[in-house]
């Protein structure tokens, strides 16, 4: 009997032979209620931890996650006559037995005795099944081992020896999201996952790097330096293309190209997205289409007054095709383009083809915005502009491949930040990003959206997000949004709201067997090493393959 | 309940009627007896002695002593500290139906040091007799209950003697819950004489030992039914020549007892004068232990007790006073001497004690391969049947 209290001491990271409690009720949809064994105290539990439930009548094992912790009593009277603070003994006797802890467990997976791989739950364990804290072994079995397509992203809380591995093949199959309020480490997680994807070679990534977080080294708040993707993959798997050569150079980034978009390449569709940023009304947007149609490819230059075509414009006004006031307003607003250094008069470079080519070759592209990152309209414009055209090429390529006239395009993951600006319910229906999110992997293009305000994202798009990696969110609407379309989500809310502000994330969805709260992997030399190692192996393999080809083997 | 009470009602009514009539008759007789006592006291001593002599050696009356027979004596002073010793015994008689043949004598005793404030010393000494010479004395068959009782009486006296020895330092009174005259010696004996002699000499040795320590010795008889004094009164009323066995046997006071007489005479705490018990026992007299007695009002509700003392106590006023006052003090709370009540309690062998004893014996016999012939069930029956107490005396206050 005296060992009990010592067991209490051990409880915590060390799983014990004693069950934490027994299942006393619940359902598959709402989760299980577990009465906690008197020997354990709720004070040592934590939401987000894993439990293993051994079926009482079968050999089935269930995995679940603690989603809520509560206190209860067998008799409501107890609340009216609780032991006083000095009645230690009474308190000790009553707690655990009459007054006891409960926890809510969401069952996630089940494993039959003769099976290796856990499957999603289709039923629940019976009454009084024993609930144990999951051991490292149990959790390990769920998350598998790291290999070429399974990438280690973090460890479950209190289980440093267990790796949570993201199934990258599934991750890129559908759009994914990284959410969290600012400062919670979204970009670190994103960078980690991207490193994994790039290393696996399963997909190319196109990263619209608003804050210059991905390409080259970044500094955190404390001034520590972290390597960018371009540095992690020096072998050519990552290209950095900048919109702001000056800034990139100043930062010391190695830049593989500079993006210049010619006025003539911009179509009204590209501008339409900017409506809210540029203050374009519906009437003005309609006018843009008309102007572009009337004025041809040089329509922007004409509107900016660079082409001496004032009379043409005046004619349109005179003909009553367009209101003079509308035209003036548009022209005033178009002055914005002049401030965007990456926009150049004329036809510009053949950037889209170049980027598509790289992506299709398996090279990921980081598009550094430099100082333009601070201008939302520039970000939206470029992301929209490039994505539309690249997506178009993927569609074409995919169709060709379907007709047996070309190779399958290499899968592509497009990373956008501040995604709610692209995917808000007003516009998501008719933007390229909404389309990509909805069409799933039909054309081998998926999104990885990074956002701090998931509530601003269109519900329909949100529900298409396959894998969600969520850092701390405290806005109720954001939390609700993150869980939209997730079954049993209610229970996980408590978990999410209680994450640490840094380096903790709830991962759920397509790429993990069950929701998991992780302490995200440190973005440090050990990560570099694991990437570097892979890189080295890949190089060797490629060299070998080259030599084989050479000798006609 | 097997007794048909309703059927008995008429008889009970007759019985009650008869008792009432007898009580009325006694009420009528008592004043006469009282008068006789006073008249007897007036008779010349020599004349009375002649009459007693004439009554013969089988007359069971009382002989006056140096005290006038109608005198009463108030309670004497008690010393500040004194010791009272009580002893009592009980026994299990031999039983042919028992597991084995044996008898048991258990002596309980108590020593109260009055004035000390300390708890009395108590003791209980059981002794088991099972050897052939104990069970079959003098080859005359199984030992009789009378002999076992005699042995018990001797053991009681021996215990008193043992305890008196340890109380030489201060006034000591040794009390026996019985008359002093060894009962077995008063029987018309068909007992093995040698055995009775052994018992008697043990008994007398005990008395002598007590005498030697300087302690007083008394036999206390609660609610005595004797009428020795009344016999004397009747004798005194007879003319000398009319005295014969026939006239002595039928006397007017024969339904009265001395106790009734003295209950009218004695105020609380007072004693009657001493009488000598007749017929006197030669062995006791020769050994200097001729027995005298007096009646004593013990203080509560006309309780008259008879106290027997040896001559050497009777004629030693200090010892006599100690006996008188000591018994009064002992009776003050419990109605009878406390030491005797306690000695009895310590001695008594209860049914459950007896069963436990037999069970232990049974176990030991079994261990030695002897299977008792009596089944547990039969034993239980017997125990239920034998409702009466094993002790001859069962008078608790």
């Amino acid at each position: 009997m005296s060992e009990r209290s010592e067991l209490d001491e051990h409880l915590g990271p060390k799983p014990s032979d004693l069950p934490l409690g027994v299942v006393v009720g619940g359902s598959l949809s709402t989760g299980l209620t577990v009465k906690i064994h008197p020997a354990f105290t709720v004070e040592k539990l934590a939401v987000g931890r894993y439990v293993v439930i051994r079926g009482r009548q079968t050999d089935r094992t269930f995995f679940g996650i603690i989603t809520d912790i509560g206190l209860d009593a067998t008799d409501a009277d107890l609340a009216r006559r609780p032991p006083m603070p000095d009645e230690d003994f009474s308190a000790e006797v009553l707690s655990g037995e009459i007054a006891y802890g409960t926890m809510h467990v969401s069952p996630m997976l089940m494993l039959d005795e003769d099976q290796d791989q856990p499957r999603p739950v289709k039923t629940i364990p019976g009454h009084f099944s024993a609930v144990f804290e999951a051991s490292a072994k149990d959790v390990d079995r769920v998350f598998g081992t790291e290999d070429k397509t399974h990438f280690y992203v973090g460890t479950p809380l209190d289980m440093e020896s267990v790796q949570v591995n993201l199934d990258l093949a599934r991750f890129i199959e559908r759009s994914a999201g990284v959410f969290g309020k600012s400062g919670t480490g979204k970009s670190f997680i994103t960078r980690t996952v991207l490193a994994g994807i790039i290393r696996s070679g399963l997909a190319s990534t196109l990263i619209f790097d608003m804050h210059n977080d991905y390409g080259w080294s970044v500094l955190d708040e404390s001034g520590r330096e972290y390597k960018g993707l371009r540095q992690l993959f020096p072998g050519g798997h990552v290209s950095v293309i900048t919109l702001d050569e000056e800034t990139s150079r100043a930062r010391g980034s190695k830049v593989d190209g500079v993006l210049r978009v010619g006025y003539e390449q911009i179509q009204p569709e590209d501008v339409e997205m900017l409506g809210s940023f540029m203050g374009l009304s519906g009437v003005m947007i309609d006018a843009l289409y008309y102007l572009s149609y009337k004025l041809g490819s040089k329509w922007i230059s004409i509107l900016l007054g660079d082409e001496n075509e004032e009379t043409t414009l005046q004619d349109l006004v005179d003909e009553g095709r367009i209101l003079g006031a509308t035209l003036s307003a548009i022209r005033r607003r178009f002055e914005f383009f002049r401030r965007m250094g990456f926009l150049v008069p004329g036809k510009g470079d053949d950037a889209v083809d170049e980027i598509f080519h790289r992506l299709n070759m398996g090279t990921s592209v980081v598009l550094e915005f430099g100082t333009y990152g601070n201008t939302m309209a520039a970000y939206v414009l470029v992301a929209n502009y490039l994505t539309r055209r690249i997506h178009e090429r993927y569609v074409r390529q995919k169709n060709l491949a379907a007709g047996g006239q070309g190779d399958e395009p290499r899968p592509l993951v497009i990373v956008i930040e501040e995604a709610h600006k692209f995917l808000d319910p007003q516009i998501a229906g008719h933007t390229i990003f909404g389309t990509i999110a909805r069409e799933l992997r039909k054309y081998s293009v998926t999104l990885l959206i990074v956002d701090q305000r998931p509530s601003g994202i269109d519900d329909e798009v949100m529900s298409q997000i396959g894998t969600r990696m969520t850092c701390l969110l405290d806005n109720e609407a954001d939390i609700r949004a993150v869980f939209s379309g997730v079954s049993g989500a209610g229970a996980l809310r408590e978990v999410l709201a209680r994450l640490d502000t840094q380096q903790q994330a709830l991962i759920m969805g397509h790429a993990v067997p069950m929701p998991v709260v992780v302490r995200t992997r440190d973005y440090d030399t050990s990560l570099y090493a694991s990437i570097g190692l892979a890189e080295g192996e890949e190089l060797k393999k490629r060299a070998k393959k080259g030599s084989k080809t050479l000798y006609g083997d | 309940m097997s007794l048909d009470i309703p059927q008995l009602i008429p008889q009970l009514q007759g019985m009650a009627q008869s008792a009432a009539e007898q009580a009325a008759e006694l009420e009528r007789l008592l004043p006469k007896a009282e008068q006789a006592l006073d008249s007897c006291a007036m008779i010349e001593a020599q004349e009375l002695m002649d009459k007693i002599l004439r009554a013969g050696s089988r007359w069971r009356g009382a002989r006056p002593t140096d005290e006038s027979i109608n005198t009463i004596f108030p309670p004497p002073e008690l010393p500040d500290s004194f010791t009272v010793i009580g002893a009592d015994g009980s026994q299990i008689f031999t039983d042919r139906h028992a597991l084995a043949l044996y008898f048991l004598i258990n002596i309980g005793s108590i020593v109260v040091a009055h004035g000390s404030g300390e708890a009395p010393l108590v003791a209980s000494h059981p002794e088991l007799f099972y050897e052939q010479q104990d069970l079959y004395p003098e080859m005359m068959g199984l030992i009789s209950s009378a002999l076992v009782s005699g042995k018990r009486d001797a053991a009681e006296m021996a215990e008193l003697a043992r305890l008196s020895e340890s109380a030489r330092s201060q006034p000591t009174l040794a009390l026996l819950d019985n008359g002093l005259l060894l009962w077995i010696t008063t029987q018309e004996l068909d007992q093995p004489t040698a055995q009775v002699e052994i018992i008697k000499s043990d008994y007398l040795r005990g008395m002598q030992a007590i005498r030697d320590t300087g302690a007083a010795l008394g036999g206390y008889i609660d609610r005595p039914r004797t009428s020795n004094v009344l016999r004397l009164l009747h004798l005194a009323e007879l003319p000398l020549e009319a005295i014969n066995d026939e006239t002595l046997r039928v006397h007017p006071y024969q339904h009265l007892t001395d106790r009734m007489l003295f209950a009218r005479r004695l105020p609380p705490g007072h004693r009657s004068s001493r009488f000598e018990l007749l017929p006197s026992n030669q062995d006791f007299s020769r050994a200097g232990h001729s027995i005298q007695f007096f009646y004593l009002h013990t203080g509560t509700q006309d309780q008259i007790a008879r106290v027997e003392v040896p001559g050497w106590v009777a004629e030693n006023s200090k010892l006599l006073d100690l006996t008188h006052a000591g018994i009064l003090e002992e009776c003050r709370v419990t109605g009878m001497p406390y030491v005797l009540a306690r000695a009895h309690e310590l001695a008594v062998v209860s049914q459950s004690d007896r069963q436990a004893l037999e069970r232990a014996l049974n176990t030991l016999l079994l261990e030695r391969g002897i299977r008792s012939e009596i089944s547990q069930k039969e034993l239980a029956k017997r125990w239920v049947r034998s409702g009466q107490r094993p002790s001859r005396r069962s008078s608790l206050p």
């Binding site: 003994f89 009474s90 006797v93 009553l94 037995e97 | 404030g117 300390e118 436990a356 206050p397």
Partner: protein, 198 residues
């Protein structure tokens, strides 16, 4: 460590649920409320473990007389306090029995027989018997007993026979067992637990 078994009574009447024993004992040996005792049963094949729930000092004429006397002597008072055996009747609830396999926490198959010896359980035996609390429900379910006071006394005593360091843990565990039984009656439980508190 083996202590001599103290005979405290002999069985006078019994059933499988309980038994009553009687004896005269010096005051020092009179068992206490809530202590354990045992009586032989099944011709010695087992021992019934009893929990003493009632101790009756039987009517004693002499003691009564001394009590009401105006001025009993000091010696008599002392005698009655120290030397005299007190006639007692103890009532015991059967809470288990021992057999070759150890203790069983259920009513015995047979009661002890009339006049079987009743012994107090030694400290070691109490410790062994109370290793399990399975007897507690038997106490709660016995009708007409002061079950709560009885358990409190019994469990406190059972704690006392244990090493100091284990006593509190024992009482907590015991309290929890009681709590399980009294889950629906917090007021009663509260009193019981207060009585248990070390």
């Amino acid at each position: 460590m083996s202590e001599k078994a103290v005979l405290i009574a002999r069985v006078t009447r019994c059933s499988t649920r309980s038994f009553v024993g009687a004896s005269r004992l010096p005051e020092a040996d009179v068992p206490t409320f809530g202590s354990f005792c045992k009586a032989r049963a099944q011709r010695g094949q087992s021992e019934v473990i009893g929990l003493i729930y009632d101790i009756r000092i039987e009517d004693d004429e002499m003691a009564r007389q001394i009590a009401i006397a105006a001025d009993p002597s000091q010696e008599q008072l002392a005698d009655n306090r120290v030397s005299r055996l007190i006639p007692i009747e103890i009532s015991c609830l059967a809470v288990g029995y021992s057999s070759q396999d150890g203790y069983a926490y259920a009513l015995p198959p047979q009661p002890p027989m009339t006049l079987d010896d009743v012994f107090a359980l030694s400290r070691d035996e109490v410790m062994a018997f109370t290793q399990s609390m399975d007897f507690v429900p038997l106490v709660f379910s016995a009708p007409g007993l002061p079950a709560d006071e009885l358990l409190a006394a019994c469990l406190r005593y059972s704690a006392e026979v244990r090493p100091q360091s284990e006593q509190r843990a024992f009482l907590v565990e015991a309290g929890r067992v009681c709590a399980r039984q009294l889950a629906g009656d917090v007021a009663r439980l509260d009193r019981l637990v207060r009585n248990l508190a070390p």
